[in-house]
């Protein structure tokens, strides 16, 4: 008797669950559709009758048998745009690649996923990691008591997740509150496990604010590699300091045999800085890096040649975490024939594309502008393909080499005048 009473209760509960699921998917559908309608860079997105698209797909979502089916329908709708960076990311994956981290504290480790493993690619001088003997090339197995392999496997199995998001997710797992600690397990050069507890300190660089953006730690590094100038910075922010640092590098490098600008790991920042920096390298007037198309205007990314321009060979280093302004800079200089690009394919995220959580828990990625590099190729979704493809390897890192820098130096040395 009790069982009979429970059955209707379960049925009602399941029915309510079904209705909730459908409603959440419908709310998500409306959010996706409305976002494209209001924020796509064309008033008529991709030339489509977007209202007709709504009327075609909403009933399909309403009648979808499952959440997965609803997501597939929304993805199909976005596919009609035939544009990259419009995607629905399953909620489970979205949570897995969460790059919020637990705090700004860092042990001074930079890392990338190489051959399916998280690998230390650099260790900040004087950082807790360096003091504890952590070395580039070491594999990172566990952080905060959690294996990294499942995260990497799950993210790599989803084509929507790119190297940039995966790397950010890995780096977030190396972070924590300043003053806290990071328990980590590494595989060292001989393949032995090394368990260390690392102090978490403030990130490298100076805190820099830019309006509503949260404060960021910005650093740059300027040095000479023999007779070649080298400039690296972690983001296109802290404009007065970074631009002045770059200017000093260029001015101090007029006798250099070449200049390396290292944008690996640089996620971008203020777009205008790409134009300003290019002005130190391009002598010809009326050149541009590319063109950005927004809903109500078109912006040319022009280059203003400075009075004193560096005229020697320029190598730009990039990787899958070079994004946005980094891609605009690297792609534009490559297209103008002013720089040779070394490294791996960039993030293909030149635009201010955004990620938002949908009511049903999935993630939604969308772009609000289109950017065409001077060579005629959209950077969004395609990124910059290096002239010379060079990958980091754990073996090279363990041997103390940076094969990307080495390749750039070799090229510059070959450009020397006899």
């Amino acid at each position: 008797m009790l069982a009979r009473r429970l059955i209707p209760l379960f049925a009602a509960a399941l029915s309510a669950l079904g209705q909730t699921r459908t409603q959440l998917d419908l709310d998500s559908f409306e959010k996706v559709w409305t976002t494209v309608r209001d924020k796509h860079w064309q008033v008529k997105p991709a030339g489509l009758d977007w209202q007709a698209i709504h009327d075609e797909y909403r009933p399909k979502v309403e009648n979808a048998a499952s959440h997965d089916a609803a997501r597939a329908i929304m993805q199909e709708m976005l596919g009609r745009l035939k544009e990259s960076h419009f995607a629905i990311i399953p909620g489970t994956v979205y949570s897995a690649i969460d790059d919020e981290g637990e705090g700004p504290g860092t042990a001074g480790i930079d890392a990338r996923v190489l051959d399916g493993h998280a690998v230390v690619t650099s260790v900040d001088p004087g950082s807790p990691a360096e003091k504890q003997g952590v070395r580039p090339g070491w594999q990172i197995e566990r952080t905060h008591g959690i294996d990294l392999e499942p995260l990497i496997r799950q993210a790599r199995s989803n084509p929507v997740i790119h190297e940039l998001q995966l790397t950010r997710a890995v780096l977030a797992r190396l972070s924590g509150p300043i003053g806290g600690t990071l328990d980590a397990t590494f595989l060292n050069s001989s393949g032995s496990k090394v368990n260390v507890t690392l102090d978490l300190t403030a990130p490298r660089g100076q805190t820099s604010g830019f309006g509503n953006l949260p404060p960021q730690h910005v650093w740059f590094e300027s040095k000479k590699l023999g007779s070649t100038g080298y400039f690296r910075f972690n983001m296109f922010l802290d404009l007065p300091r970074v631009m002045a640092g770059f200017q000093q590098t260029v001015e101090g490098c007029q006798a250099c045999d070449g200049l390396i600008i290292d944008l690996r790991g640089n996620p971008g920042g203020i777009g205008g800085m790409a134009m300003g920096m290019a002005g130190f390298l391009v002598d010809k007037p009326n050149q541009r890096l590319g063109t950005m198309y927004l809903r109500d205007s078109t912006l040319n990314f022009v280059v203003n040649p400075r009075a004193d321009v560096f005229s020697g060979p320029v190598a730009v280093l990039v990787d899958g975490c070079s994004a946005s302004t980094s891609e605009i800079f690297a792609g534009g200089l490559k297209d103008l024939g002013r720089a040779r690009v070394f490294g791996t394919h960039t993030a293909a995220a030149a635009l201010p594309s955004a990620f938002e959580r949908l009511p049903n828990g999935d993630g939604f990625q969308y772009a609000v502008a289109n950017y065409i590099s001077e060579g005629g190729q959209p950077l969004e979704g395609l990124g910059v393909t290096p002239d010379v493809l060079v990958e980091l390897t754990p073996a090279a890192l363990l041997a103390g080499h940076d094969p990307v820098v080495d390749a750039a130096l070799n090229w510059i040395r070959r450009q020397k005048k006899p």
Binding site: G211, L239, G272, N304, R306
Partner: protein, 249 residues
């Protein structure tokens, strides 16, 4: 009978629409008059305006100072902590700008003509010289106030559409397509909070939307006819180098 009644509103409509619009010339002359009059403008030989700028969407604020001297000197500087110093100037036929972000450059073509036109201290008074063709295009309501819509076409560049309140004669809005090195940018400016700065009424607040960017400028005070050292308008060293480089080519 019924037919006559029905037609009456149409007759009234025709009578109303046939009211002649004032000429564009009279609207622009009235603007000179209501903002201080010819004499007040003629007395103004130099000025220094001090104020603030804000990009609300970005959360960025800064200070601005604008120097101007008859007949053809202008220097405008904005300082924003996160961006650095941005300068623009006119010295005779040379129009230039310099910023930490984009570097120094000389303005050319239509952009140069626009800069010289807008930088002139006597631009309001001398609208006839700057805009050979003006036309009253009708009436539009802005914030509940009827405004005359006046198209002013310069010798070089796109027409500027000014909106002048029917009641007060003050200009409350301007639209144009501005020529810039980034491209032709649609610009809309909303002027408000007119204040008397040394005998001339000027909008103390201007909100400008240029393409995707919106910013506001608030003028706090204006120094009237101060002595401005000539070096204020001198070309900065980087600009001078570009002038020399251009001349050498």
């Amino acid at each position: 009978m019924n037919r006559r009644v029905l037609l009456l509103p149409l007759v009234l409509q025709v009578c109303f629409a046939a009211d002649p619009l004032p000429s564009a010339e009279s609207i622009l002359d009235r603007y000179v008059q209501v903002t201080g009059g010819k004499q007040a403008y003629e007395k103004r030989k130099t000025e220094i305006a001090h104020g603030t700028v804000e990009f609300p969407a970005l959360g960025i604020k800064g200070t601005m100072t604008r120097y101007a001297a008859e007949p053809d000197k202008y220097y405008y500087t904005v300082e924003i902590e996160a961006i650095g110093k941005m300068e623009t100037g006119i010295n005779g036929p040379i129009a230039w700008e310099n910023s930490a972000i984009l570097g120094p450059r000389l303005k050319t073509g239509v952009e140069r003509a626009e800069a010289i036109r807008e930088g002139s201290l006597s631009a309001t008074l001398n609208w006839r010289k700057l805009y050979p063709k003006v036309e009253n295009q009708g009436i539009e309501t802005i914030d509940g106030e009827e405004c005359f819509k006046v198209a002013m076409t310069p010798a070089e560049g796109q027409p500027v559409i000014g909106y002048f309140q029917k009641k007060s004669g003050l200009q409350v809005k301007l639209t144009t397509i501005a020529s810039s090195q980034l491209g032709d940018i649609p610009v809309e400016m909303i002027a408000s909070d007119y204040k008397n700065f040394g005998g001339i009424l000027e909008p103390a607040k201007v909100i400008q939307k240029a393409g995707p960017q919106e910013f506001s400028m608030t003028i706090d005070r204006v120094e009237v006819n101060p002595a401005i050292p000539p070096e204020t308008f001198a070309l900065p060293a980087e600009i001078r180098k570009l002038v020399d480089k251009t001349a050498a080519k």
